[in-house]
């Protein structure tokens, strides 16, 4: 780890992580501030960043985590009732997503994979629009430019390269901008999973990011499973340690600790925005439920493992902290629950109303410019469809 790239003190924090590279399978140190028992510890570097989070912000973290968990339950139910073709649950990963997303600023651009519903919530994406893809009425659903939150990508890791290219674009924009420009500096976050980390595109994206010192934060949610395959099959070293091989900092953070995730991500984004290059964050977390609604985790893992991780639940620990520190009262938690139910109701009712598109819309967006084959096939389709209408008329 190049000490010039890290603030003082980080070396010690990460020393154990580095040492673990030599001994795969050994327990690995990670940045943790809020422990499973709900007490706040300290860290030589990141406590300073955690101090920036005021009580109001902590309550927002909690609210968002609870809302997105409630949304997740509702979407799962909608899938079970046949309203969605598939659902990708996030329960267990709320702190990783909400904590990191709140560290981003509106000018930062985010490239998610397909499970980042919590990030979408923080970036103000209408969650009903997010369901369009899973209901089969769209391959996207929202305008990525409105909230600088890109469409979901189903081909694992493809978006990590787009993120680096986008970050290279930000660098060029800064060069092209007038000297007196007051535009805030921007960075990019690329989300991906521990399974995706095995894809070649993640490697290439890290090579490019390092070569051009691109302002990008790689945010890997290590939720321990890629469908049925455990992380140990994807990597022999802690994922965060891989960054070292590319020449930029890598940090493992307790992904169930919203405070630490926020602190680490804020540090990483500042590092990137200030032109000091990429950072890899490995959020160490757990996918508590199934990979998707089509998956059956009982076939490949022990329920004891799930139970052990439930003990580390990200919402429970923040709730404990808020209560023991007197930062939130019963009325707050009642309100959070009511908000969640409200969101679920909204999502349920709007899902039913999501419009099925006309296939003509698909013809319209294959190409940006006129394309004769599209025109020809659309004309054929119109004529073909009109044939049914005139048959209908004849029958009447």
């Amino acid at each position: 780890m190049g000490s010039t790239q890290l603030p003082p003190g980080t070396e010690e924090t990460l020393a154990a992580t580095t040492a673990a590279a030599a001994a795969p399978g050994e327990p690995v140190e990670m940045v943790q501030l809020l422990g499973p028992d709900g007490t706040l510890g300290s860290d030589p570097v990141f406590s300073d960043y955690a101090k920036r989070i005021d009580p109001e912000k902590l309550r927002v973290f909690y609210t968002d985590m609870a809302r997105i968990r409630r949304f997740d339950q509702e979407a799962t139910a909608l899938q079970r009732q046949g309203e969605l073709a598939l659902w990708v649950p996030l329960t267990g990963q709320e702190a990783a997503q909400i904590g990191s997303a709140h560290a981003s600023q509106s000018q930062d651009y985010i490239f998610p994979t397909y499970r980042e519903h919590g990030v979408a919530l923080v970036r103000n994406v209408d969650l009903a629009e997010l369901l369009k893809q899973f209901r089969g009425v769209s391959n996207g659903g929202w305008d990525p430019r409105e909230n600088n939150f890109h469409l979901y990508t189903l081909v694992l890791a493809a978006q990590t390269l787009h993120a680096v290219g986008y970050a290279m674009g930000i660098q060029r924009d800064q060069k092209l901008a007038a000297a007196d420009s007051t535009d805030p500096k921007a960075a990019v976050i690329a989300y991906f999973g521990d399974g995706a980390s095995s894809e070649g595109d993640v490697h290439e994206s890290m090579v490019f990011a390092a070569s051009y010192n691109a302002p990008v934060v790689f945010f890997c949610q290590n939720n321990h499973w890629a469908i049925s395959v455990p992380t140990e099959v994807q990597t022999k070293v802690p994922l965060a340690n891989r960054a070292k091989g590319y020449g930029f900092p890598g940090i493992r953070v307790d992904g169930n600790d919203a405070i630490a995730v926020h602190a680490v991500t804020e540090w990483a984004l500042e590092h990137a925005r200030e032109g000091r290059g990429p950072v890899l964050i490995e959020a160490y977390t757990y996918r508590v439920g199934a990979h998707t609604t089509a998956d059956d985790p009982t076939k490949y893992r022990e329920s004891a493992e799930e139970a052990a991780w439930r003990e580390k639940d990200p919402l429970d620990r923040l709730e404990k902290y808020l209560r023991t520190e007197g930062l939130a009262d019963e009325a707050f938690f009642d309100q959070v629950k009511a908000d969640g139910d409200e969101l679920a109701k909204y999502v349920r009712s709007t899902t039913h109303g999501l419009e099925v598109p006309d296939i003509r819309d698909a013809f319209a967006s294959v190409y940006a410019e006129q394309h004769p084959l599209i025109a020809e096939e659309l004309a054929w389709f119109e004529e073909y469809s009109a044939g049914f209408e005139s048959d209908q008329e004849a029958a009447n």
Partner: protein
């Protein structure tokens, strides 16, 4: 009017785009200081700097994937893939991402990326340096595929490709890089729309359709056929997707006979698509079945036997004879 090789014409076209569009940039392996293995980007890094002419890490998926990100940020990247047979590591980014982003976003996002690929055989090279993978990309909706056959077109078509808001794969006929021709740098003329075919030789007895490296071969075959008293029309397709069937159809309605020639394997190739379309559109005008002249269903053969693999004048003349015998 200036005379230059196809390689130089592309170089000049790139120079013009880099000058006119501050958001355009070139990226690829060895394209900067070396000027590309075929020197197509020669001298551009000196003129525009290494931010505009980027020597990338050796990673094809990385080149195309980061180009997509740059395009999403408002840039117009032009990627060079060093050789045809090395585009496959980028195949995923091209077919699952680049081709689909406009559609997936219902038109809200455009990715005006150009991918330049030197392609085709006839240069006596080793494995993976002589392939014609255009059908693989043409089959993917969302991509545009073009290939110039002469210097004038090369100069203008590369600029039009960069201006186009859709992703364009620009197949450069590498064995013609040194073919000289006149370039009218003031007037695109016929080349105004790079997605339209050109009738490059008029005739009445049969039509030969070709593109890229085979256009000079088709013209030579047509000339040879005049010695037997045949009048052969030749069409330079220029664009493989979209395919300008109107121009081909009009010609077939005049001549009644069609030969399609390309270097790529005949099976599953562009020639089959043209044959099928023309039989649908002009069946009653056809005096003979459409005949395809292309490569065999085998990996591109070793250089010492590529002569037997490549469509040449004799193979096209044989096809003409067969067509005219009906």
């Amino acid at each position: 009017m200036a005379t230059m090789t196809i390689a130089k014409a592309i170089n000049e076209g790139l120079r013009a785009s880099l000058t006119n569009n501050p958001k355009s940039l070139l990226m690829g392996e060895d394209i900067g200081h070396l000027g590309g293995v075929y020197r197509v980007t020669d001298g551009l890094i000196k003129e525009f700097g290494d931010d505009r002419v980027v020597d990338t890490p050796l990673a094809e998926s990385g080149i195309v994937g980061t180009a997509i990100g740059l395009a999403l940020r408002g840039y117009s990247p032009v990627c060079e893939i060093q050789f045809d047979g090395f585009v496959y590591p980028a195949f995923n980014q091209i077919t699952t991402q680049l081709a689909k982003i406009h559609a997936r976003s219902l038109g809200k996002l455009t990715v005006p990326v150009v991918i330049r690929i030197p392609y085709g055989g006839g240069i006596g090279s080793i494995e993976h340096h002589s392939e014609s993978p255009e059908a693989l990309f043409a089959h993917t909706a969302g991509l545009r595929i073009i290939s110039p056959s002469n210097a004038h077109d090369a100069y203008w078509m590369i600029q039009k490709a960069i201006e186009c808001q859709d992703p364009v794969i620009f197949f450069e006929p590498k064995r013609r890089y040194w073919l000289k021709g006149e370039v009218d740098v003031d007037n695109a003329g016929l080349s105004e729309d790079p997605f339209k075919a050109h009738v490059v030789r008029e005739g009445t007895d049969a039509t030969i359709v070709a593109y890229g490296p085979l256009v000079p071969v088709a013209l030579a075959a047509a000339n040879a056929a005049t010695e037997d008293g045949r009048s052969i029309e030749v069409i330079d397709l220029r664009s493989i997707s979209p395919l300008d069937f109107d121009t081909v159809e009009a010609s077939v309605k005049k001549t009644g006979r069609l030969i399609v020639a390309h270097e790529a394997p005949t099976f599953g190739g562009i020639g089959g698509e043209i044959a099928a379309r023309i039989s649908e559109r002009a069946f009653l005008h056809l005096e003979a079945p459409v005949i395809r002249v292309g490569g065999f269903h085998m990996p591109y053969p070793v250089a010492k036997v590529e002569e037997d693999y490549l469509p040449d004048i004799d193979k096209i003349l044989e096809a003409l004879d067969r067509s005219l015998s009906y």
